[in-house]
């Protein structure tokens, strides 16, 4: 059975301007985030979601995590529908979103992880061991007892990933996971992702980083204006530059960096 199945999913966000809109210039109307998107992910597969800002990558992750519900179509995780069986889906999915500050500032990293692990029903017996494990995987052991209000962006990002990992999800969703990470941490993180995939975790990564996509992904999904433009395997020995040219060719956008060269 596929770990994730997206079947003809559409999602539109409607913006209703404020009552006294003549006082300002708030835009009304709607944004089509996803248009009839279908794909599936097998167990242990790593998928990279590529696409420009506003293409629907984060919406895709949020739909799988049950943060959002689809307007049309269905999203299934291990056969469970996100609309009807959201509780079962949430037990299987871990998500690290790009919001850095989604922690309790006056708790330490370890205390934050302990809190979220309790809500994720990790037994008290296992919690200590798992928290130590994810702190090590994300390189946060030294900062484990620091209050998170003192954290940098990169540390917040790593803590978000640790939080997603602590429940040992069958499906791991990562939104721009290495955006604020330094080079060494990024390399270590990519190794962790491949190791998780070997342990049968399905991983979806929304990223703008072509090197990341070629380093960790088995497959690429290219989204543009809410439509799925491409769904293909990462070619053997495909490098970041080749993927970059594929991306610009498919999206029709202009690669200004290439023009400068």
């Amino acid at each position: 059975m596929d770990a994730v199945v997206f079947q003809s999913v559409s999602k539109t966000f409607r913006h209703r301007p404020a009552l006294f809109n003549w006082l300002g210039r708030e835009r009304g109307g709607e944004t089509i985030a996803l248009k009839d998107v279908s794909f599936s992910a097998a167990p242990a597969e790593v998928l990279a979601l590529l696409g420009p800002n506003g293409s629907g990558k984060t919406t895709t992750l949020k739909l799988i995590s049950t943060m959002l519900l689809p307007d049309a179509g269905s999203v299934r995780v291990a056969g469970c529908d996100t609309r009807g069986d959201s509780g079962l889906v949430r037990r299987r999915v871990g998500i690290a979103i790009a919001t850095e500050r989604s922690f309790f500032p006056r708790l330490s990293a370890r205390e934050n992880l302990d809190f979220f692990a309790a809500l994720d029903e990790v037994s008290r017996r296992e919690r200590r061991e798992r928290i130590a494990e994810v702190l090590s995987e994300t390189g946060l052991e030294e900062q484990s007892d620091t209050l998170v209000m003192k954290f940098s962006s990169g540390m917040f990002q790593r803590l978000g990933i640790a939080r997603a990992l602590v429940k040992r999800p069958a499906v791991l969703l990562l939104d721009e996971p290495t955006r604020s990470m330094d080079a060494a941490t990024t390399a270590h993180f990519w190794t962790t992702i491949r190791a998780l995939a070997k342990q049968k975790t399905t991983i979806l990564i929304a990223t703008h980083n072509f090197a990341e996509a070629t380093a960790v992904a088995d497959r690429l999904l290219l989204l543009h204006h809410g439509e799925l433009l491409a769904d293909r395997r990462v070619l053997e020995h495909e490098n970041a530059d080749e993927l970059r040219s594929f991306y610009f060719r498919m999206t029709g956008e202009i690669d200004e960096a290439a023009l400068r060269i």
Binding site: S102, F104, E121
Partner: protein, 266 residues
């Protein structure tokens, strides 16, 4: 059940740690309690011993009224603030993706907010009795019954405020409107019989007026549960109706927010 207790412990621990790490917060609360009680004490002295609403001295009357009113409003406010803060930081969205059902999470979080304010209420009443010599004649069993029903009603108010916050991002405004109305109609500072007849009728539909009246009768007059069965029955009826209604409304508003993508709007 074990997992629910575990989650409640985690939430209580989070809130306790956050509270103690705001080092001055507890001291400020204590000073606030004493200043408020002093103001009510001197107000009752200024009015004089002749004013005995419901046959009790005015200071104990105020002590129970304002103590319970503050408990209701501050609990709902504390709960609402935690939802608003979670929206602003993005924690709410993440919390909604944990294995804990959203309604269970909200109820457990509210228990924590209410526990803190229950401690504040106990300090308030204790200080009123110990420092300002308010005379009480408590029937503790009646007090406990009133408190249990009051907690259920206050929980419903807190959940309703959270619902409005999730649905319209306007929980604070609605709570302010409600608390102002309650201040007028629930008999906090004066007996509801002093209100014009139409407003007196409206006050009979306000659950907090029964809670405050019940607590005064239990704490200040020592009435038994049998003697105040009518009030207790009304409180139980309000709790049985309002709590499920608030939970249904919350569940619907969360579903709507997930559909519209407005869970983290504030």
């Amino acid at each position: 059940m074990t997992s629910t207790i575990d989650k409640l412990q985690a939430i209580l621990r989070r809130d306790l740690l956050t509270a103690v790490r705001h080092r001055s917060g507890f001291v400020v609360t204590l000073v606030g309690v004493f200043l408020e009680l002093a103001a009510f004490y001197f107000l009752s002295r200024a009015i004089g011993p002749g004013f005995r609403p419901g046959g009790v001295e005015y200071f104990p009357f105020l002590l129970v009224g304002t103590g319970l009113y503050t408990f209701f409003v501050m609990s709902a406010q504390a709960f609402l603030s935690s939802v608003q803060e979670a929206q602003q930081t993005g924690t709410l969205e993440v919390l909604m993706t944990t294995s804990t059902a959203p309604s269970e999470l909200i109820i457990l979080s509210s228990i924590s907010a209410f526990a803190r304010n229950l401690v504040n209420l106990a300090i308030y009443v204790f200080a009123g009795v110990a420092v300002f010599r308010a005379s009480i004649q408590a029937n503790f069993f009646s007090c406990a019954l009133v408190l249990v029903f009051s907690l259920a009603i206050a929980l419903a108010l807190g959940i309703a405020a959270a619902t409005l916050q999730v649905a319209f991002q306007k929980g604070s405004s609605v709570l302010w409107l409600l608390s102002s109305g309650l201040w007028l109609l629930s008999g906090t500072m004066f007996p509801t019989q002093s209100l014009p007849r139409p407003l007196e009728y409206v006050s009979r539909m306000v659950p907090f007026s029964y809670a405050i009246d019940g607590m005064r009768r239990a704490l200040l007059e020592g009435q038994s549960p049998a003697a105040m069965s009518g009030t207790l029955a009304m409180l139980a009826a309000f709790a049985l109706v309002l709590l499920p209604l608030a939970l249904i409304a919350l569940s619907l508003s969360l579903r709507r927010a997930r559909q519209n993508g407005t869970l983290s709007y504030y």
